[in-house]
C-alpha cells in the first residue's frame, strides 16, 4: 500500500478513537455537567445526631438544585455528633440561620444534604457553621414508633 494512503488511514483510525473518547466523556459520562463552580468554592460545617448513610461526595441541594458536595465526615469526640464539611459554590450564599437536613432521593435512594436559607441579613462566611440541623430518617425508628402506636390503640 502506498505510504500516503497508509498514513491517511491510520490517521483516520486515531481520529475515530479521539471522537469516541470525546463522545464517551461528554455524552455518556456527562463531564460538562459536572463542571465544578467556575468562581470557586467555600466550606461550611454542620453537625448531625445521625447522618444515616450519607457518603463523601454526596450532593448538597437547595430546592433540588445541586450547589455543592460533601467533602468530609468526622465524629466530634466530645459531643458524639457527626460533623460534615460541605463544599459550596461561591455564588450561593446562605444566611446565618440557615438549616441543613439529610434527605433521601426517592424513597430508599441515596442520601443528600438539603439546605434551606433563613431570613437573617448576615451571611455565613467560609468555615461557617450551620446551627439548625435535622438528622436523617432512620427506617427502624419509624417502624418501632409505628408498632408502639398500633399496640397502644
Amino acid at each position: 500500500m502506498k505510504r500516503i494512503a497508509l498514513d491517511f488511514f491510520v490517521g483516520v483510525f486515531v481520529l475515530i478513537g479521539i471522537i469516541c473518547i470525546a463522545f464517551l466523556s461528554l455524552r455518556v459520562a456527562g463531564i460538562s455537567n459536572f463542571s465544578g463552580n467556575t468562581s470557586g468554592t467555600y466550606t461550611l460545617y454542620a453537625s448531625f445526631n445521625n447522618i444515616g448513610s450519607l457518603k463523601i461526595d454526596a450532593p448538597v441541594k437547595v430546592s433540588g438544585f445541586i450547589v455543592g458536595r460533601v467533602t468530609n465526615i468526622q465524629l466530634n469526640p466530645k459531643t458524639y455528633q457527626a460533623q460534615i464539611a460541605l463544599n459550596i459554590g461561591k455564588n450561593y450564599k446562605f444566611s446565618t440561620d440557615s438549616s441543613a437536613q439529610i434527605l433521601t432521593t426517592g424513597l430508599l435512594g441515596e442520601q443528600y444534604v438539603g439546605l434551606q436559607s433563613g431570613a437573617d441579613s448576615q451571611y455565613l462566611a467560609n468555615d461557617g457553621k450551620i446551627s439548625i440541623t435535622s438528622s436523617a430518617m432512620v427506617l427502624e425508628d419509624l417502624i418501632s414508633k409505628f408498632m408502639t402506636n398500633i399496640n397502644t390503640k
Binding site: L6, V10, F13, I16, L24, V28, A29, F34
Partner: protein, 260 residues
Amino acid sequence: MKRIYNAIAIIGSPFTTFILHLGRITNLFFQILLSLAYPFKNFSLIIKEIHFSGVRSIVIIAVSGWFVGMVLGLQGYNTLERFGSVSMLGSVVALSLLRELGPVLSAILFASRAGSGMTAEIGLMKATEQIDAMSVMAVDPIKRIIAPKFIGGIIAVPILSLLFNTAGIWGGYFVGVTLLHLDRGTFWSQMQSSVQFHGDVMNGLIKSFIFGIAVTLIAVYQGFIAKPSALGVSLATTNTVVSSALTVLALDFILTALMF
C-alpha cells in the same frame, strides 16, 4: 514402576511447559522493552503495523459492538420491565459495556483477527528463514519486526475498545429509543448520572490497555517460537487465539477485583 513414573510425568508436563513458556514470554517482553527506541526512529514501521492490526479490524469491532449493544438493550429491557425500571436501560447498557464487555470482547476479537495474523506472519517468516537471514545481516529481528508489531498492537487495542463501546451504546440507543420507544432524554440523562468518567470510562480504558499488552505479547511470542513448518504455524495461530482468550478473561477477573 517405570510406567507409573511416566504416567505421573505426563500429568506434570503441561504445568512445567506452562511455566517454561511464562518465563520465555517474560524474556521476550523485556527484550522488546529494551528495543523500543528503534521503531520510534523509523515511525513508518509502526504506522504499517497499526494499519495492519487496527485499521483493518475497524469493521469487525464496530459491527460486533453494534450488535452487542443491541442485544444488551433487548435483554436489559426484558428484565427491567418486570421491575418497572425501564428508565435505567441507558445505565445498564453503558455500564456493562464500559466496565466489562467493551475491553474484554474487543481484546478477544482483536486476538482472533489481528493477533492470529501477527502470529502467522512471524511464524511464516521463521519458516521461510527470513528471521535467520535478518540476524545474519546484523539486523535484530526483534527491533525490526516484533517491536513495531507490539507497539502497533498496544496503540490499536484501546482505540478499538473505545470504538466498540461507542458502537455498543449507539446500538443500545437504537433498540431502546428507536425500536422500543423509550424516552430519549431519560436514556441519556440516566446514563450520565450513573456513569463516572474516572471510575468507569478510564478504568475500562486501562483494562483495554493491559489486555492489549497481553494479547499482542502472546501473538508475537507464539509466532516467534512457532515450529518452522506449515503444521507448526497453524498450531501457533490456534494457540494465540486460545491463550489470548483465556489470558484476557483471567486478567479481567483480577483487574475487576482490583478496580471495582
